[in-house]
């Protein structure tokens, strides 16, 4: 591969040089006009290329939307994500509409009005009406988008702990991993500060705060379906960002403060795995992995594992050398499964006494 690439680069470089010398020669031989200012012939060719370029742009656009449609995230697994996707869809349609029209006009004009010696340009310096129209149209459209966006934003970001029976979970970030802390029976997190970090108390929970006794610290994030979760986020060292793309959720995790985000998961991990989109996607990925594994085995290395989809949380704010591998598995399951799983996890108090008895 390396050799191949080096060869490609060298070849490209060679072709460039060759073409350059050829063009230099051509430009000197063919015409006496070497003023280096575009003449009618240049205008004609470049104008046509402009038309070609906009066609390239359109083809590229269509290609990307068709070929890469499997890249779009699947249906949202959270309640507010449905509104998010709707707003994204509307904005996308709008900007693609404007994109196609304006790029078309720009390049078409560049082609249509390519210069000729005998042509005369139109002295057209101003037109208040025209300018008014294209000021007011963006104003109206953007006003619509702003209002729509702001309503959705307020809905998402207004976190009301009193409403319903939300689950309180702390997301704790450090170089380079995540922990989740469940608030336990009392649904109230114990106080915490990095100054309490010692031994098994890796999250710095204040042992004198009784609310903390029943807290449970886990390495996986399990969430009951259809119940609102409020995440309280804390960082131990540097900035991190808790990014949960399948739930259309993200919030930075900032040392020295507690940031919040809330959502209601609506699709269990099982449901997402059995979604036709996801079945296809996983099949494609596994095909790629099998091919890669073949090469690896041939080179005497371990093959890759077969991939099975799980929700994940990833760090999305540069946080150090292993930033690229700071992830946590998320499982969305039924209320009963969630309770059963949570029972198997030790409380903070149990962990402390286990440490003491050792």
């Amino acid at each position: 591969m390396t050799v191949f690439l080096t060869l490609v680069v060298i070849a490209l470089f060679g072709i460039t040089l060759w073409q350059m010398s050829k063009i230099l020669k051509l430009s000197q031989l063919k015409n006496a006009d070497n003023s280096q200012v575009a003449n009618d012939k240049d205008n004609d060719l470049q104008g046509k290329l402009m038309l070609g370029f906009v066609i390239f742009l359109y083809v590229l656009t269509v290609y990307c939307f068709v070929q890469y449609r499997s890249f779009f995230l699947p249906e949202s697994a959270s309640e507010h994500g449905v509104d998010y996707d709707q707003l994204m869809f509307i904005s996308m349609v709008l900007i693609m509409f404007v994109q196609i029209i304006t790029q078309g006009l720009l390049h078409y004009f560049a082609y249509k009005y390519r210069g000729k010696k005998e042509n005369k340009a139109l002295f057209f310096a101003d037109n208040d009406k025209l300018e008014f129209i294209w000021t007011i149209i963006p104003v109206i459209v953007l006003a619509g988008l702003i209002i729509y966006g702001l309503f959705t934003w307020t809905d998402i970001m207004n976190i009301d702990e009193e409403e319903g029976d939300p689950l309180i979970v702390e997301l704790y970030a450090y170089q380079f991993d995540w922990r989740a802390r469940y608030a336990g029976e009392d649904n109230e997190l114990g106080k915490a500060n990095v100054r309490f970090i010692e031994g098994v108390n890796t999250l710095g929970i204040d042992a004198s705060d009784t609310y903390g006794n029943d807290d449970k610290i886990t390495t996986e994030l399990h969430l009951p379906v259809n119940r609102k979760v409020i995440f309280k986020m804390r960082s131990q060292d540097v900035l991190h960002s808790a990014y949960m793309p399948f739930f259309r959720a993200q919030m930075n995790v900032v040392p020295g403060m507690i940031t919040e985000f809330a959502y209601t998961p609506t699709l269990t991990s099982e449901e997402m795995k059995n979604d036709p989109y996801m079945i296809d996607k996983v099949a494609t990925i596994n095909k790629i992995r099998r091919e890669k594994s073949k090469k690896l085995v041939a080179a005497g290395e371990e093959p890759l594992d077969v991939y099975e989809f799980e929700y994940y949380l990833l760090c999305n704010k540069i946080c150090g050398v292993s930033h690229y591998n700071m992830q946590m598995k998320i499982v969305v399951e039924s209320e009963e499964d969630y309770e059963a799983w949570l029972k198997t996890q030790p409380t903070f108090k149990e962990q402390l006494s286990a440490q003491a008895s050792n």
């Binding site: 430009s27 890469y68 995230l73 404007v98 004009f109 340009a121 002295f123 310096a125 040392p255």
Partner: protein, 604 residues
């Protein structure tokens, strides 16, 4: 008007008699044209370094499992056995961003063309203070040297991202690059800011005071408007970055807690208490966002001038263009929060910043529409500079439109810090501003070096770059919408991203081709300086004042009196009532030509 009076007695100064030595002419020159060339060449060299870095990390992203000897050759111990170290990957990303944004697109673009064009296009002998101008360049040079030098420190250069958010940038325990590398980065940037401020103050003073007779503000070319407003934004916002950097230096070296609080790292609790990284983000982006326009406005100014000249038509809606520049400048200082929607700041602030951010789309849209209308019914002379200008409008639209998505606080939640953002800002400010730089170089090369650049090489350069740039950044949006975070050393730890690998290879191949095309430009640039065809005085048949100066450079720009100005700079293809050109047989009327008999001045 005092400005005019001043310009007049300036005209009687005798500028020609200084004895020039090699050193005063080529090194410590106070002549704006020489300083402009110094900026350009330094900027291009920094550009080569910046682009080379992007090639290295793009290769890593495309082929994470392959070993490339080139890593070991270029990165030394950070590329041992051809495997790139994850820390150096982040350093490359960081320094690439810093160099491209500040050293190439701020100093290389605005420094070059503000210096070259402000005195020439407003009819001044030189900048208001040639000495400060010289200091400004040499400070820039010094900061470039320090930045390059920082690449060679033991623990690696700064690697906390070009935004250097603390605590990562403040704590050497958090990442190796936050030691000596970061210190040098901060020192370099502090000097850079001083350089930028000296330059900007000079530009502002020159534009206000040294316009020649008849050059009212509404007769200034749009280039000058853009440089003038850019300088004002720079003066307003760069000092804030300096204070942000100073506080960071204090946190790093003197144990203060402006940005740090409650940190446990490497088994140790730090004493810092009460600071907030969010404060740094506010200070940083108070410069960081206007910075986008500091980069972009000069490019748009250059484009306005080039599109009008090469369309043989007045720029459409001169007043609207000026108003847009002013509106963008004003709004650019109140939108910084859109980088911070999910930083933990109060969500209400997010609503306010969404509002102001989407407002800025309006003047931007007006500018784009005006460019398109300027082309309409023109007689387009498709010189390489013109192609790059049209290319700029194209990437400005494409990149600007995705800004509507990112500027919406709701939509930002799920695409924040993904490759969608990377694609967006590279198109709208990176590629667009680079096109502006190239357009400017092709257009004003005859003015700078008295030679013409080869147009055919220019065409090759443009088309390969245009296709390559879209090839790199258009698919990148889709990779971003898959939720792929930026600044990941490799994506192979998430099998979910396995199907993006081919697209990443495609992007890298386009990047390699595009970078190779820049060699064509370099070759053309250098060979034209020495062997280019000698330029005539006004090769593009342009109206502005710089084309009334002699081809050979002279101190003081014009032999004899400074010309006075009688009209705006966009009288292209202006006709009398009988349909004839104002000056028979010539489709342009230079600004120094008085109104002809029976000609009406346009109240644009």
């Amino acid at each position: 008007m005092s400005a005019i009076a001043h310009a007049e007695d300036h005209a009687h100064d005798d500028h020609g008699h200084h004895k020039e030595t090699f050193i005063t002419k080529y090194i410590f020159s106070q002549d704006h044209k020489m300083i402009s060339k110094q900026y350009l060449i330094t900027g291009l060299i920094m550009g080569i370094i910046g682009i080379a870095m992007s090639i290295l990390f793009r290769m890593q992203l495309a082929w994470p499992d392959h070993k490339f000897t080139i890593y070991e050759v270029l990165l030394g111990k950070f590329g041992e056995d051809g495997v790139m170290d994850p820390g150096i990957y982040l350093a490359l990303v960081t320094i690439h961003g810093t160099i491209m944004v500040f050293f190439v697109l701020t100093a290389g673009l605005s420094g070059t063309f503000s210096n070259l064009l402000i005195p020439l296009q407003i009819g001044a002998r030189d900048m208001a203070s040639g000495f400060l101008n010289m200091i400004s360049y040499w400070l820039f040079f010094l900061s470039s040297i320090i930045m390059v030098f920082s690449l060679f420190v033991e623990a690696g250069p700064a690697s906390a991202g070009w935004t250097i958010y603390p605590p990562l940038s403040a704590l050497p325990q958090a990442i190796g690059g936050s030691g000596a590398g970061m210190t040098l980065w901060l020192v370099s940037m502090a000097i850079f800011i001083a350089s930028s401020l000296l330059g900007s103050l000079n530009y502002v003073v020159t534009v206000i005071n040294l316009r020649t007779k008849g050059m009212s503000m509404t007769r200034m070319p749009l280039t000058i408007w853009a440089f003038f407003v850019t300088a004002i934004i720079g003066v307003v916002s760069f000092p804030v970055l300096l204070s942000a950097a100073l506080l960071l230096i204090m946190d790093r070296s003197f144990g203060t807690s402006f940005y740090l609080s409650d940190i446990y790292i490497q088994g140790e609790v730090l004493h810092n208490q009460g600071g907030s990284p969010v404060l740094f983000e506010h200070l940083f982006w108070f410069l960081g966002h206007p910075e986008v326009y500091i980069v972009l406005l000069p490019a748009l100014g250059i484009t306005s001038e080039i599109i009008a000249t090469n369309s043989r038509k007045p720029i459409f809606g001169y007043r609207a263009m000026v108003a847009s520049i002013l509106a963008i400048a004003f709004l650019s200082t109140i939108v910084w929060g859109h980088h911070m929607f999910i930083s933990g700041m109060n969500p209400f602030l997010g609503s306010v910043f969404t509002f102001t951010t989407l407002l800025i789309a309006i003047p931007s849209a007006v500018k784009a529409f005006n460019y398109i209308t300027t082309l309409w019914k023109g007689n387009l002379q498709l010189n390489p500079a013109m192609l790059f200008s049209i290319g700029l409008v194209s990437t400005f639209i494409t990149g600007g439109l995705t800004g509507i998505i990112l500027g919406d606080s709701t939509l930002d939640i799920n695409v924040h810090d993904t490759y969608f953002v990377v694609a967006h800002f590279h198109l709208v400010m990176g590629i667009s501003a680079l096109y502006g730089l190239f357009a400017g170089v092709y257009h004003w090369f005859p003015k700078m070096y008295g030679k013409m650049m080869n147009k055919n090489l220019g065409y090759i350069h443009f088309w390969v770059t245009a296709i390559g740039a879209y090839g790199v950044f258009f698919p990148m949006h889709f990779v971003g919408m898959a939720g792929l975070p930026r600044r990941y050393y490799t994506n192979s730890n998430f099998p979910y991203f396995d199907d993006l690998a081919d697209t990443n290879i495609l992007i890298t191949v386009f990047a390699l081709i595009t970078a190779a095309a820049q060699l064509v430009f370099l070759y053309n640039f250098i060979s034209s300086i020495f062997y280019g065809k000698k330029a005539v005085q006004n090769p593009w048949k342009s109206n502005t004042l710089e084309w009334t100066t002699p081809v050979e450079h002279m101190h003081g720009n014009w032999p004899g009196e400074i010309p006075s100005v009688h009209r705006w700079p966009y009288d292209y293809s202006k006709t009398n009532e009988n349909g004839e050109y104002v000056i028979a047989g010539q489709d342009y009327v230079s600004q120094i030509v008085p109104l002809q008999e029976g000609e009406e001045e346009l109240h644009h």
